[in-house]
Symmetry: C3
Amino acid sequence: MRHFTSVTQLGDLRDAFAEAARIKENPFADQHLGKNKTLLLVFFNNSLRTRLSTWKAATNLGMNVIVLDVNQGAWKLETERGVIMDGDKSEHILEAIPVMGSYCDIIGVRSFARFESREDDYGEVILNRFIQYSGKPVFSMEAATRHPLQTFADMITIEEYKKKSRPKVVMTWAPHPKALPQAVPNSFAEGMRLAGYDFVIANPEGYDLAPEFTEGVTVTHDQDEALRGADFVYAKNWASYSNYGKVLSRDKGWTVTEEKMALTDNAYFMHCLPVRRNMIVSDDVIEGPRSLVIPEAANRVVSAQTVIKRILESL
Amino acid sequence: MRHFTSVTQLGDLRDAFAEAARIKENPFADQHLGKNKTLLLVFFNNSLRTRLSTWKAATNLGMNVIVLDVNQGAWKLETERGVIMDGDKSEHILEAIPVMGSYCDIIGVRSFARFESREDDYGEVILNRFIQYSGKPVFSMEAATRHPLQTFADMITIEEYKKKSRPKVVMTWAPHPKALPQAVPNSFAEGMRLAGYDFVIANPEGYDLAPEFTEGVTVTHDQDEALRGADFVYAKNWASYSNYGKVLSRDKGWTVTEEKMALTDNAYFMHCLPVRRNMIVSDDVIEGPRSLVIPEAANRVVSAQTVIKRILESL
Amino acid sequence: MRHFTSVTQLGDLRDAFAEAARIKENPFADQHLGKNKTLLLVFFNNSLRTRLSTWKAATNLGMNVIVLDVNQGAWKLETERGVIMDGDKSEHILEAIPVMGSYCDIIGVRSFARFESREDDYGEVILNRFIQYSGKPVFSMEAATRHPLQTFADMITIEEYKKKSRPKVVMTWAPHPKALPQAVPNSFAEGMRLAGYDFVIANPEGYDLAPEFTEGVTVTHDQDEALRGADFVYAKNWASYSNYGKVLSRDKGWTVTEEKMALTDNAYFMHCLPVRRNMIVSDDVIEGPRSLVIPEAANRVVSAQTVIKRILESL
């Protein structure tokens, strides 16, 4: 594996799940791979799980980890070419990226959608510039349109907990006070289609995801109908794609509550975290015995370690 | 040792001092204990000594260290249950803590008193939630009511410098422009009682510490009287406990000066740092030959390493 | 080597270049030197290259690295003696420095010119206090008047790319929106004199550097004349020395463009980065085949590793 920006790059899924299981069983077995190798983690945005789990994964593999918070202790970066740089940005990303590349062996990048332009966000400008200019393998720690390490962790979790070979997985939109990117739902839809689960998306009108991510997927605006018979409920907020970046609804009727979960086939509850309690999900559901949010987050180490291991093997 | 939140958990003090001395003599002897073990340091507040000394201690033990500054580069955390999270806090501590726990083997937590409610502070809400929900051993890097790694370092320092088996140790309040927590004085009082020194506290009226920390201790409002015959002077500011979190006095008559030190039996001067010069202590005293502030700070590595070693041994 | 604050401390330059070349060829050969040694990097100012390259260099040498951003997550530091510390600074540098020294084996310090007083800046107050009070070897990661790790990397780069034994190197001032320190140009001038290159400085009137750095150097106010026959063009902005810290010109006639480069003998373009495009240099020049800015930045690891290796050998 050279770059990792989408779960579609995982290759044969059974192999990937088997490799992840071996890594989970024996996390320190591959430390020879990372010896004298440095992973640079570049954050353009906040992070808790991704920061810690990727760091832990790299450490398990024997790597050195260097963290760069671009907005803390570094320079503000210009991204456009041809600009006269007489403002507050003192470095151009076209210098900063190859320089970063020269100090490490692998780069992880987090760069969220900015909602200034759908074209820019869906063009994955920042992530692609790292791939193009760093000279090093790059993996996404959540970009504007996908969060593949999260989705891979979600898939590993579903594989661990599923009771039937093709469970019904429902991803439901839920309300949130602010506009959130579509990276997680896009990526999750991508993963569910790959895995071949019985996958349904429920969201209010105006919240349909970009068509390239939902091709062939059942999309309904009736949450209750979607939840019936579900084995896994994956809750997530996202801002509108068609009315790009807008919050069209904060309808608490979409909050995942015990009543909603009662419609399912005793489904597990999943969320990528961080989660707004009593907006996305009630306290009872997230704390209940069917909540997988903690094992799901713990699998972020497994997911990252599998991907970084594959990149190390390809160096 | 499972959790470490108070020096009262150190067990037999002679054993603890002997172990600390061995670690100081040979800091790299126990690196097998930390191999493939990860320490997560979680800071809700600023830190210099604690950050560096705990990091160094863990590194001496062969551990990996991951630092998380909650207020920089992570999400703001909600701590109350039942809240509709539609404000600026995007994650609940009830998710954040077990997630952190899943990425490490031991957690160090710094969480100061907030002076919003004495009940909350003295209930040690944050620290206790880490103990309750992280699933991992937790040690305090200063909580609302105690700073046990500081106190243990103070005790090691007194043991190193004392000329008699039961020295007179005076902890004196001193002025400061802002309201400071009682964690250090509470914890120091706890340590002095454990060690069985001749311990006296001097503070202005209105500044008596919480009774559970001063039981059996001589408390006086006459600083000069307290200082007479002292072998060690431990200066510290704290805000009022009875009039909780209030600054009742900035009386410079309590600043520890050469004149004050002349009342003692050629006492050593101690302070946990950071210290406000010419508020708490004069330049002359802190720079003088009887000042122990630097060796005391250096012993923070020894103190932390002893505690982390014991936790590692219990894993 | 004990402290490193100027390239004049490199000793025999041929030896230094040869050592740097060996390190570049085989970066992991000296890991025994750094075992159980801790490098503390103290940043009073922002950093990208210095942070990452110094961290990587120390890691290559087998060291542990601890980073302290003084303005993020630590305490504000008082630097003057005799002050009553009742303001926003809660720690004095006279305590903070020896404490830092007690937690590490070597200290790297970044502390820029503050332009409050030329005397203070040129007295290198912060750097010298670390040397005086830390008790540990100290190296500069850019101080008020010099940036020796940058200059050493620049020199290594010129040695790698030069076609004649004594190339013509032109350092030219170029416009910038803000007042920048003289550390890089001072230090570069120092290095060029040491290396014995044919060295010329071009800057507008009012921008002559401090005389101690330009003794015996040709300084001209005619950029075009300077550029003729140049083998290397080193662009840099700096604020006025005589009219200390002032921006006297933003004349775009000094921007290094293709037209300017056409005056040279097919010169290489160099800059320490970060660089303001279309202020200091045009997009075309910095992206062109003669631009050395990326290999120059990559040599920052080699430069830092050579210096840290020498300090480790002297411990």
